[in-house]
Symmetry: C2
Subunit: 236 residues, 2 copies
Amino acid sequence: MQLFYTPDIDASHPQYFLSEEESKHAIRVLRLEVGNEVQLIDGRGGLYTAQIHDAHPKRTILKITSVSTEFEKRNHYLHIAVAPTKNIERLEWFLEKATEIGIDEVSLIITQRSERKEAKVERLNKIVTAAIKQSLKAYHPVLNEPVTLNQLLDKPFDGQKFIAHCEPGEKLNLKDELVLNGRYLILIGPEGDFAPAEIEKALGNGFKPISLGTSRLRTETAALEACFEVNFLNRI
Amino acid sequence: MQLFYTPDIDASHPQYFLSEEESKHAIRVLRLEVGNEVQLIDGRGGLYTAQIHDAHPKRTILKITSVSTEFEKRNHYLHIAVAPTKNIERLEWFLEKATEIGIDEVSLIITQRSERKEAKVERLNKIVTAAIKQSLKAYHPVLNEPVTLNQLLDKPFDGQKFIAHCEPGEKLNLKDELVLNGRYLILIGPEGDFAPAEIEKALGNGFKPISLGTSRLRTETAALEACFEVNFLNRI
């Protein structure tokens, strides 16, 4: 069934008007007709089924036939803060895959050794939106504008905080540390890893050092591994 | 340290000659000089350190200074059989990531609903080789030529066999089924999933149906999720 992302939908209203662009797509491209069923997700947990009520190519009217709220609500909250990769495509695929597997919030952090100091959030957010439509996620992960690691470290976070780094020192495993159904913030460094001073500051701010296994992982793979582990452990 | 993939190396021989191409790369591009240290992996578990003995740009001679065998030998054997994705980049991405996380063998299977009926193994294998060099893996995963699902199902496999599919029916979880430190063969279907008759035949051939969670995953994401779960469970 065709699915539209409708963040501006009002659940209390029985009708929804597709934007001019989506109306054109629905009627001219998808050739939807009156009576055809479609699905809508609002990015806040709402999954709707609706019917084409007026197949207008510029202002298609949908009649909402059913609403489910908190659709597949996640039993935990995962916030991953990752340094944008030098090759932006690697960050893009992390965002697509993390959205498929399950993530709530992503922060892009600029670190001492970051080769990339910026990222176009609007463009990256389109990838996240495409991924929630493809994988039928009613919740749209939040993608934050880039901040420096220090800015992120200074922000309060009500939950467990972890940092994955490759420097020597004690490392914990998420399987032993994770409080299930909790809130987690996990830091993933750039290709050259966090600088020792950055790790020190994070540890000082209550981040626990974790290992993501013995393999040498690329930044985007480490971020996805963390995402995998948190979702998997909360499934067990 | 620079790392070279040297599948033809003879551990009993104190010297190794780089190929003309790699000699040129080492001396002209990397500007390595006599006495510089390099690492070599043979793809069979051997990790060597060597020194440039003769910085010849066409036949560089390396002097092997140390050998470790069974370097980071895996405690299990994972064989994933996956239908090549319509967009080959998605399969390439899976191969890179699975190599980083840990995999031993990949089979490409052509199924009833496969949109892609072929894949260039030589090209794909280059991606695997690049990934073992990047992630310092001494074992080179085996990538098999495409076969039909039936051909694969008829081949004997000495280990646990699983099929991940989205059709209704009983589904097991790897965390409950997996015998640790074992041998596993996991089937991952194409974008349109396996056909019911294919699933029937697999179940008849001793494959257990598994779920990879509630998320709707793309083919390459499902394959990586399976790879992740097997590695993670064998780490616990």
